[in-house]
């Protein structure tokens, strides 16, 4: 039975009728709402390319059903920047060459958002551990780690 899903995504209200119960959240975001920044890489919750913030928690949207999003608040990569002002994580990935093909980047940034919420002043080992659920095939992770540490520094000095 198709359902209606009402959700707040990136601060905007969405109302979608006829949502198939089996529709995955990632396809709901991409195909129904047109938010194509969230990617699919593995279909099995391993690679993290589909990571979004769901009611304040980083989740992999490829194994969550869209109907679960009824009443939820979701942030995708499209909602991370504050208008034209990039989030320090976005700046960090750019500054530190934390991406090559860019496919894993949105998911990586969403996981890193949660990482910095949990660990505002992380060390390298913590960053690596917290990003274990996100796979990157291009960078070898070195510059991703640098990017997150750069953003942490930036956020700290902004908060100070």
């Amino acid at each position: 039975m198709a359902r209606t899903v009402q959700a707040t995504v990136n601060g905007r209200k969405y109302y979608e009728e006829n949502v198939e119960p089996r529709l995955l959240l990632v396809h709901f975001l991409r195909d129904r709402l047109g938010l194509t920044g969230t990617h699919v890489g593995c279909d099995s919750t391993n690679c993290g390319a589909c990571t979004v913030m769901f009611n304040g928690k980083a989740v992999k949207s490829c194994t969550l059903l869209a109907v679960r999003a009824d009443g939820a608040e979701i942030t995708t990569i499209e909602g991370v920047a504050d208008e034209d002002q990039l989030h320090p994580l976005q700046e960090g990935f750019w500054e530190k060459h934390g991406l090559q093909c860019g496919y894993c980047t949105p998911g990586m940034i969403m996981s890193a958002l949660q990482l910095l919420e949990r660990h505002p002043d992380p060390d390298e080992a913590t960053v690596r551990q917290e990003l274990e659920g996100n796979l990157c095939r291009c960078t070898g992770y070195q510059n991703i780690v640098e990017a997150v540490l750069w953003a942490a520094e930036r956020l700290k000095s902004a908060g100070a």
Binding site: G37, C42, D43, H97, C101, G102, Y103, L131, G140
Partner: protein
């Protein structure tokens, strides 16, 4: 300030960090259908019938195509061969199976449905009748003369035979005090870009044009091949590669799936999208690497390597991919490494089995050659009670240019200096002392050394199969178009797949023309607007494409200066462009903004003398001189330091030092990103990743839960030292790069692990070195 040599931030990144990149699955066309493949569950079976009736009764099932229908509509998939000593017996490889299936995941039919989910439902309703046959999984069995044949039109199961000889192997044996012999076995793994394959095919009945949006590294070559396979006019095909989420050589493939998709688009008269699932991708996208080498190395007792001989067996899978000869020959040609040897001899058999076809993956086979020689040197050093570094120093090429026994001419570089630098980075002497101390504590630290010359820009394909087009990659053509405001588009027929072209090509263009970089933009990937190009492959972008960017930029500059000279009433040869101003050299104040010149060239044409043409556009080609099989010769030395936990079999990195020389670096940040990323991929391939088939030919690794690609915690921090020996034959001095990390890591990491556990009586001659495999080796050694 010149742009070349600066680590400027990438110009393509804003879209990626904001989620506004456009990959193929982000594109939706009006009226678009979704496609799904029906794939074989059997490794080997006769195909008795494919029935789509029930599938098309599904309310959302729009159309379907089977192998039998496709057979007369699409010709065989292409196979390239090499100029010399190659025999290819061509299996009949079609876009959809029509008589037999030869690997698990081989496509047998394609359906189109109204949406993504329905496509999978509809595909499940296709009824296929199989008669299972005995699978051939082991190339050592399949190569035997009495083995059943996988392809009726072949004499046996050898799909490709290459024989290469160099120097004087007989003399090498004659002078030898002993002959070192081993069998090495490298396991099957592959590139697995995080974006799987995907394509939208669309046929316009009015224009009779076929348009593809496709995740590929080779839009122009794909267009040419599709034209041949489908017997469709090439100028009516347009391939657009949007953002590509990783390629790693895998996306050099001409996918049979894309051919079938074109047929379905033509049949349905609607755009059809196919996005591969990860499961499909692991089963049916290209696999790579799996080889065995039976090696003989005639040696002198004083440590001189005299020659190297190998019988190389490649497990080619059920069909020959277009590029089968590349990674096969690549391994063979890299056997002598950067060492002085007298003789070289390799016989290569690519053998048909019931596995996924074998194709290109970053490094193109050279890592297997590097593994054979580097592992052998360590084992020989042990036999001779020598330090492995010392043995390398004795045999390494001391001076360049050096004519290698394979026929390659290594044109530049100082390999000994590179090795010394790497040893200094890890403090080799102190490390050996530390290793001895740790061993006494029962801890197993290992130091691996591997060095190699990388051939960047292979160019050896030839039209051995006359019916197929064969791409050549030793030239590039670039167009520069200045608009009416003085901004420039650089049009390149390549595709960036993480390779930073939008940045590095703009850096080179900015210097060539004399414009600020923010007035330059790179356009790639669309065959309708870019010049013909053989694509992003073989590390050719720096060595071949960037010189073409420079030449095209200089040609455009000349045109701007010509108009400028007229406007400033100066001589054309006295003009220069500095920071976007056309000026008379040495005459301060006599200048004009380029934007003014552009305006005149486009809209005040009547004011120009008759001999000055309208508009500002230039197209130039660069033809790279060849040095043996390749265009440029970057090199690297890798020294990983590991500790092996003999209780768990896990490998921990303590250090990882890399010395890398790819000539002049346009953007050192980008170079380092490629070196580190490539190395990580090599490390993952050595320690974690393996495509595992059971004896019935079922693939057991069909998700990232089973096929383990490295995570952030598996990877160390890499220390990279950049040397820059300019390529003597390439304007600008650039050498190709990007594959190297992935080439040397394999041998270096295997040597490091072997060095760690060698005191426990373990000899490593095969991969992967997963924890379970390391424990197994330790158990075997204990007896």
């Amino acid at each position: 300030m010149p742009m070349i040599g600066q680590s400027i931030k990438r110009r393509e990144d804003l879209k990626y960090v904001t989620g506004s990149g456009t990959y193929v699955d982000d594109i939706t066309l009006p009226g678009m259908l979704y496609a799904a493949f029906v794939r074989s569950p059997h490794a080997h079976a006769r195909l008795l019938g494919v029935d789509t009736t029930k599938a098309l009764e599904h309310p959302k099932g729009i159309d379907a195509i089977t192998g039998a229908e496709a057979y007369p509509l699409a010709g065989p998939m292409p196979v390239y061969s090499y100029r010399e000593a190659a025999v290819i017996k061509k299996p009949d490889y079609r876009c959809l199976a029509h008589d037999r299936v030869r690997f698990v995941g081989e496509p047998v039919a394609l359906v189109a449905a109204a949406d993504r989910y329905a496509a999978e439902d509809v595909a499940e309703l296709v009824e296929v009748e199989y008669e299972p046959l005995e699978p051939l999984m082991n190339p050592d069995e399949s190569i035997k003369p009495d083995s059943p044949k996988l392809h009726d039109n072949l004499d046996n199961n050898v799909g490709l035979r290459i024989e290469r000889r160099g120097g004087d192997m007989e003399a090498a044996y004659r002078e030898a005090d002993f002959v070192f012999k081993r069998r090495y076995r490298m396991h099957r793994h592959t590139g697995t870009p995080i974006e799987t394959r995907g394509c939208i095919a669309q046929y316009n009945t009015g224009t009779q044009e076929l348009t593809l949006h496709c995740s590929t590294q080779i839009p122009h070559i794909l267009k040419t091949h599709l034209s041949e396979i489908l017997d469709f006019p090439e100028f009516k095909i347009r391939v657009i590669a949007p953002d590509v989420g990783g390629g790693f050589g895998n996306k050099l493939q001409v996918p049979p799936e894309v051919v079938a998709l074109c047929l379905l688009a033509i049949k349905t008269r609607r755009p059809v999208k196919w996005i591969e699932t990860r499961r499909e991708s692991l089963m049916a996208f290209l696999h790579a690497r799996e080889q065995t080498h039976d090696v003989e190395i005639p040696m002198k007792r004083d440590g001189t390597i005299l020659g190297i001989k190998s019988h190389e067996i490649v497990n080619a899978g059920g069909y020959l991919d277009a590029r089968i000869s590349g990674p096969s020959l690549g391994a063979g040609m890299w056997l002598p490494g950067p060492y002085m040897v007298k003789g070289f001899h390799v016989d290569i058999d690519a053998v048909m089995t019931n596995k996924c076809p074998y194709g290109a993956y970053r490094g193109f086979g050279s890592q297997m050659g590097a593994l054979v020689i580097e592992r052998s040197l360590d084992l020989i050093a042990r036999e001779l009670s020598r330090d492995p570094v010392d043995l390398r120093k004795q045999n390494v090429i001391k001076e360049t240019p050096y004519k290698c026994v394979t026929g390659h001419e290594f044109d530049s570089g100082d390999y000994m200096a590179g090795l010394d630098k790497a040893l200094e980075m890890v403090d080799y002497g102190a490390l050996r002392a530390e290793q001895a101390r740790l061993r006494e504590e029962g801890r197993y630290m290992g130091i691996g050394v591997a060095m190699a010359v990388e051939g960047a820009g292979w160019n050896t394909y030839t039209a051995a199969m006359a019916q197929h087009y064969v791409p050549t990659l030793d030239y590039a053509t670039v167009t520069m178009r200045m608009d009416t405001s003085g901004n420039v588009k650089v049009l390149i027929g390549d595709v960036a797949c993480g390779t930073s072209h939008a940045t590095t090509a703009a850096q080179v263009a900015a210097d060539a023309i004399g414009l600020p970089i923010d007035t330059i933009e790179v356009v790639e990937g669309d065959t309708a607007v870019t010049p013909y190009d053989s694509g992003t492959r073989a590390a050719r972008f720096s060595a071949v494409v960037l010189p073409a960017v420079a030449e095209s930029g200089m040609a455009l500059k000349k045109k701007v200066c010509r108009v400028g000279a007229h406007l400033l009433e100066g001589a054309e040869e006295d003009m220069e462009i500095v920071e976007g101003q056309v000026q008379v050299r040495g005459v301060p104040g006599k200048s004009l903004p380029v934007s003014r010149v552009a305006r005149v060239a486009y809209s005040e044409v009547a004011t120009l003398p008759h001999e000055i043409p309208a508009g500002l556009e230039a197209t130039e080609s660069f033809k790279a001189p060849m040095s043996g099989l390749c265009i440029t010769w970057p090199y690297s030395i890798h020294i990983p330091v590991v500790e092996v936990d003999i209780e768990t079999g896990t490998v921990k990195f303590l250090r990882y030092a890399i010395v890398h020389d790819c000539g002049v670096e346009v953007n050192p940040m980008v170079v380092e990103g490629q070196v580190v990323g490539g190395t990580a991929q090599g490390v993952g391939g050595t320690l974690l990743e393996e495509m595992v088939y059971d004896e019935d030919g079922q693939l057991l690794t069909t998700s990232f839960m089973d096929y383990l690609i490295p995570t952030a915690t598996d990877m160390p921090s890499f220390d990279v030292c950049h040397l820059q020996t300019a390529a003597p034959q390439i304007p600008g001095g650039y050498k190709g790069m990007g594959e190297g990390g992935c080439v040397y890591a394999y041998a270096a990491v295997v040597n490091a692990v072997a060095d760690a556990i060698e005191p426990l009586g373990v000899e490593i001659t095969s991969t992967p070195l997963s924890p379970s495999r390391i424990l197994e080796l330790l158990r075997e050694a204990r007896g």
